[in-house]
Structure formats: structure tokens, C-alpha cells
């Protein structure tokens, strides 16, 4: 785990070297006034941005460890603060997507494997292949235009006009920054409903691709599990078909699906960027997309590092879950 993280920072640093020193200065700036030409030259001198790469790396790395990822022009705040302020929106989106993805994905995967080559199998496979061939941003915009433009339901953005104003006002105490939970904590149901209404379309868009992927993986591992020896043994013991599938086959089929969920998390992070940009959800994804557009190097690289850390820790959790599910790993 640690070497991968170290490697990740090295890679990020390598990417920074592609830029000229002036723009790289943004990585070391802590307050907005420093964007004047003289201030940047002074920073170039102080941090020795023209020296050879390895010397800079130690300085940059110590800065990063101190938590100074530079200043983001687009976010008009130090990168670390900008990220922290934007995380709740993304977490909210991901929080509502994951249960759908996991439950529906596994359910459909099992169903289509059990009824192999029957209508339900072809439909699920067809839908799942279509799901994974749909450009998510195109789907998002089509849904928006149909529902928002057409029926004036599920508008983009995180909260409706009035709800947004109320949340900004100090009458509303922000515990976690996640609207739905804060609304409940504050006992404001109408804000909760408003937040949910805004969340429907992004959740649909973000989970279609992921569900398509899980259904395909689950189906193939389920098919593999179904013709193993212990399934025939279970049937020979007199177990009903339902128990054979749900107890014996499904638990074994889950193992390969869990190991591949690392790719799922990567897909999730990518999806977040696009979904937030389409629906105007100002989470971490949308901010980094805008930063990339406006050549705000510090923001983009800060976000990349953040995403790397999230991804590596998520993979670690997946490995632990994997060891829990598969006894062969746990005792080895």
C-alpha cells in the first residue's frame, strides 16, 4: 500500500515537471496576492524551481506533507481547503449510488445466470451492454432535457433556489455538509425532499454504467460457480433450488466480483466528474474539471493526488473485505 502511494506522488511530481516554472509556481503559493509577476519570480527563486527535478521533489514533497498543495485560482482558496469544502457533495452523490449499484447489479447478475439463455438473460445482457455503451454525459443531458425542460421536475444543481438560500442562512446548522442528512438533523423535511429531487437524475446516470459492469462480472462468475462440484453435491443432499443458488452459489460468485470492485471504484470517480459537470453539482469532480479547463495546475494535481489516495485506500478496504469473504485467503 505505502509503496503505491509513494509511487503515486512521484508520478504526480513527474507530471508537474511538464509545466514551465512560472505556472508551476502556483503549487507553492499560499495566498492570492502572490500571483503578481515579482511574487512568482521570488517563489521560483525560493523554491528553486529551475534546479534539477530530484532536489525539487524533496521540497515539494515536504510542502505536500505540510498540507500545502498550492493555491487554486479557480477555487479562490488553497487547494486543500477547496477540496475539503467540496467533498460533502461528492460523498452525498456516491452514498446514494452505491447501494443501487451493488444490490441491483448482483440481483440481475444472479437472475440472468440462473435463467441462462432464457428471455430474461438476453434482456439483462442486452440492457447491460447498452448501459455500458451509453456515453454517461449524453444520457445525463437527455434525461435533464426530458425531465427538467419537459416536465419541470428534477432540476440540476444540488438544491432549489429557496432551499439553497435557507441552507446558507445561519438558521440552518451544517453538521456534515451533506444536505440530505443535515436537513434531517435540522428537522427540515422539505429541504430533504428538495435535495432528493435534485439527486434522482445524477444517481441514475452514475449508476447505469456501474450496474452494467457488475451484472456482467456477476453473471460470468455465477455461471462458473453453478457448474462446480459442490452445487451437484448440494442438490444431492436434497437442498431446494432456491437455497442452492442463494446460499451456495451466490456466496462463491461474490468473491471474484469483490476483487474486481477496485475497477468499479475507479469508474465511480470518473463518473463523478462527468455527472457533476452535467448536473452542475459543485462537488470535487466538477471543480477539478473547471480547473483543468482554466489551466489551474495546482487544483488539477491536488485533485489527482486526492483521487489517488481515495482509490488506494478503497482498494485496501476491498482487500480486507476479500479476505473476510474468502476463508482461503484469511488463513493462508
Amino acid at each position: 500500500m505505502i509503496p503505491t502511494l509513494l509511487g503515486a506522488t512521484l508520478l504526480i511530481f513527474a507530471v508537474t515537471q511538464l509545466f514551465d516554472p512560472i505556472s508551476r509556481a502556483a503549487l507553492y503559493i499560499t495566498n492570492p496576492q502572490q500571483f503578481t509577476p515579482e511574487a512568482t519570480n521570488e517563489i521560483i527563486a525560493r523554491y528553486g524551481l529551475n534546479d534539477p527535478a530530484y532536489m525539487q521533489f524533496s521540497r515539494w514533497f515536504s510542502e505536500v506533507l505540510k498540507g500545502n498543495l498550492g493555491f487554486s485560482r479557480s477555487g479562490r482558496a488553497p487547494v486543500v481547503e477547496a477540496i475539503l469544502s467540496k467533498i460533502p457533495a461528492t460523498v452525498e452523490l456516491v452514498m446514494y449510488c452505491s447501494p443501487f449499484i451493488v444490490l441491483i447489479g448482483i440481483f440481475l447478475g444472479v437472475k440472468s445466470a440462473v435463467h441462462r439463455d432464457k428471455p430474461i438473460d438476453h434482456i439483462t445482457r442486452g440492457v447491460s451492454i447498452m448501459g455500458s455503451s451509453l456515453p454517461s454525459f449524453w444520457l445525463g443531458i437527455v434525461l435533464l432535457s426530458v425531465f427538467y425542460v419537459g416536465f419541470h421536475v428534477c432540476p440540476p444543481g444540488r438544491l432549489g433556489g429557496t432551499a439553497d438560500l435557507y441552507v446558507m442562512s445561519d438558521a440552518f446548522t451544517r453538521y456534515t455538509g451533506i444536505n440530505t442528512i443535515d436537513a434531517l438533523l435540522n428537522g427540515k423535511i422539505w429541504i430533504f425532499l428538495d435535495a432528493i429531487e435534485h439527486l434522482i437524475l445524477p444517481v441514475v446516470v452514475l449508476s447505469t454504467i456501474q450496474i452494467a459492469y457488475i451484472v456482467r462480472v456477476m453473471r460470468s462468475s455465477m455461471l462458473e460457480a453453478l457448474n462446480k462440484g459442490y452445487i451437484t453435491m448440494a442438490r444431492a443432499k436434497g437442498l431446494p433450488q432456491k437455497a442452492v443458488i442463494n446460499k451456495h452459489a451466490r456466496k462463491n460468485a461474490l468473491i471474484p466480483t469483490i476483487t474486481l470492485s477496485g475497477i468499479l471504484i475507479a469508474g465511480m470517480l470518473n463518473g463523478v466528474i462527468i455527472t457533476e459537470t452535467v448536473f452542475g453539482f459543485n462537488g470535487v469532480g466538477r471543480w477539478s474539471a473547471n480547473a483543468a479547463l482554466s489551466m489551474d495546475i495546482a487544483a488539477v494535481l491536488g485533485f489527482a493526488l486526492f483521487a489517488g489516495i481515495v482509490f488506494v485506500t478503497a482498494n485496501l478496504l476491498v482487500d480486507i473485505l476479500y479476505a473476510y469473504v474468502d476463508p482461503r485467503i484469511r488463513l493462508a
Binding site: P3, T4, L5, G7, A8, L10, L11, I12, V15, L18, F19, H122, R125, G126, I129, M130, S132, S133, L134, P135, S136, F137, W138, I141, V142, L144, S145, Y148, V149, G150, G262, I265, A266, G267, L269, N270, I273, I274, T277, S288, A289, A292, L293, M295, I297, V300, L301, F303, A304, A307, G308, F311, V312
Partner: protein
């Protein structure tokens, strides 16, 4: 297939050589016939193959279907991928006789954009896949077959690249290289090759333990010959499946980058970019539907075709099904 290897070259006499070739090719033809019969059998693969072939034809006939610098164009540009414009009108106009698909913002002819967009899609897909395959093959084979330090080093390096979700690293790279389609392809290539390396290394490790590889060594084959004649021919098939699936997802990623404004420039004939510009028109209501729906349908069917083809390959080449 590899039957045209050294065994054939040193026969004597042209006639016997041709006769030898005819007899020699016979089993391969039988193999291909068998695969085609399996393709005909499953409906999904039929649709997939027909879509991909349809797009290939469009790409080949692009200069005929939509000749560059048509008569009505305003600007004379040499680059065929720049979409011609009739007039400087900013609002998109509906499909008309001159512009079968209508025109997008700033009057870019959608028909031309979509046709030439097919070529961009093929270019992005094939260039990145074959690039990744080449790198992946070389490193994967060396790491898989010889193992030891090289293997360890390579795997740690691919782990690092895997630590980043693809799109984010691509964004960082494109910001670094500057915004153009070639840079998008380069970024996707840099992100793509590790997954191929790991896949090929896995296949090599699996095939390396088979008896026939050890038997080849027992006969005295050099490592090079073992890799070329025994290990690679048997590990190529699963890679073909992944490659065809990957082309679809690559086009999607490129389109996503263009959508975020990091891909092809504004005038370029690329589906992602066409959708990106038509985005705000879409939110103004349904009367500009064509600027948005048509490129979307193109991307969707193109990627769908490749995914179906990949799925069909997996069923055909799945050894358990083949020889039942």
C-alpha cells in the same frame, strides 16, 4: 495463423509448394468456418459485427460521402477534419436539403461532422489499443516469461498507474500537454498500456505452466522460439476479446474528455466535441434536438457495436464452449 512458419518455406518446387499451401491452409479455413458458424448462431454478435462493418464502410467512404471543402463552404481549410460552414449564423438550423443532419452552433455542418467523426473514433480507438498492445506485449511477455526482478519492478510500476482513475490522470496529462486530440490519444495510451501489460502477463503465466511449453523446452527450443511458437499463439485470443471491448470504452473516454472541453478543438470533426457544444442548446428546449441526438446516436451505436463484438468473441473463444 502461424502455419506459414518455417515448416513451409523449405519445401522444394513451386507446384508442390502451392499444393502444400492449399493442404496446409485447409485446417485454418476449417477453424475460421467454425468460428463464423458460431457467430451466425448468436444474434448479439450478428448485430455487433454488422454495426462495426457499417461504420468501417462510412469511415472509408468519408471523402466521397462528405467531400472536404464543399462548394458552399465559407472557409477554405486544408485539414479535412475541420467542419465546413456555410455562413456565420450562431444558432443551429434544422436539417435541410443542403445539410441533411442540420447545422450545429456557428453553422458547422453536422452531417460532415458525424461522417468524419467516424474516422476520428476509429483513429482514437485503434491507435490507442494497438499502441497499448505493443507496449503491453513487450513488457508483459518479458515480465511474465522471465519473472524475477523485472516482473516485480513492472508490476509495482503498473500498480502506481492503476492507483489513478483513468479520466483524472488523462485530465492532468492533457492540461500538461495542451488541448488537442493527439494529446488525448497520448494520454489515453499512457493510461491504457498497464492494463494490457497485466493482462498479457497473466496469460503468459497461465500458459507457461502448460505441459507443451515444458515439452518444447525438453526438445531444446530456445526461449525466443518457445515464446513465439508456443506461448503467444495460445495467449492471443483472450487479449483480442479485451481489445475489442476496450475500443468502445476508449472512444467513450475520448468523448468524455472532449465534453469536458479538454479534447478536440471547437471546429474539429469529433462526436464528443459536437455534443459538448450542443449542450446548452439542449437545455433551451426540444426544437434543437438534432444538434444533440444525432452525434449521441453515432457514439452510442459505435460503442455498442464494439461491445457486442467483444462479447461475441468471448463466447466463441471460450475454450469450454468450443470443444464440448
Amino acid at each position: 495463423m502461424l502455419i506459414l512458419g518455417s515448416g513451409w518455406r523449405d519445401q522444394m518446387g513451386v507446384k508442390s509448394r502451392f499444393q502444400e499451401f492449399k493442404v496446409g491452409i485447409d485446417p485454418t479455413v476449417k477453424e475460421i468456418k467454425f468460428m463464423l458458424s458460431r457467430v451466425r448462431k448468436s444474434p448479439l454478435s450478428l448485430i455487433g459485427t454488422s454495426i462495426v462493418v457499417f461504420y468501417a464502410v462510412i469511415a472509408l467512404l468519408a471523402p466521397v460521402l462528405a467531400p472536404p471543402n464543399p462548394s458552399w463552404t465559407v472557409t477554405q481549410i486544408s485539414d479535412p477534419f475541420a467542419i465546413p460552414r456555410e455562413k456565420y449564423q450562431s444558432t443551429p438550423s434544422p436539417p435541410s436539403e443542403l445539410h441533411p443532419f442540420g447545422t450545429a452552433e456557428w453553422n458547422y455542418d453536422l452531417f460532415y461532422g458525424c461522417i468524419w467523426g467516424t474516422i476520428t473514433a476509429f483513429r482514437v480507438g485503434l491507435y490507442v489499443v494497438f499502441g497499448s498492445l505493443a507496449i503491453g506485449l513487450f513488457i508483459g511477455v518479458v515480465a511474465g516469461y522471465y519473472g524475477g526482478v523485472i516482473d516485480e519492478l513492472m508490476m509495482r510500476f503498473t500498480d502506481v498507474i492503476f492507483a489513478f482513475p483513468g479520466l483524472i490522470l488523462a485530465m492532468a496529462l492533457v492540461t500538461a500537454f495542451g488541448r488537442s486530440l493527439d494529446n488525448v490519444m497520448l494520454a489515453l495510451l499512457l493510461i491504457g498500456w498497464p492494463s494490457y501489460t497485466r493482462l498479457i502477463r497473466g496469460e503468459i503465466l497461465r500458459i507457461k505452466q502448460e505441459d507443451y511449453v515444458e515439452a518444447a523446452k525438453a526438445v531444446g527450443c530456445s526461449d525466443f522460439r518457445v515464446i513465439i511458437r508456443h506461448v503467444l499463439p495460445n495467449s492471443i485470443y483472450p487479449i483480442v476479446v479485451v481489445a475489442s471491448l476496450d475500443i468502445g470504452s476508449l472512444v467513450l473516454s475520448a468523448a468524455a474528455l472532449s465534453f469536458l472541453g479538454l479534447g478536440a478543438p471547437e471546429y474539429f470533426a469529433d462526436w464528443g466535441q459536437l455534443i459538448s457544444t450542443s449542450q446548452n442548446w439542449m437545455l433551451k428546449g426540444w426544437d434543437y434536438w438534432y444538434t444533440f441526438i444525432i452525434p449521441g446516436v453515432f457514439i452510442f451505436t459505435f460503442v455498442l457495436g464494439w461491445n457486442l463484438l467483444g462479447d461475441a468473441f468471448r463466447d466463441i473463444l471460450d475454450p469450454t464452449l468450443r470443444r464440448r
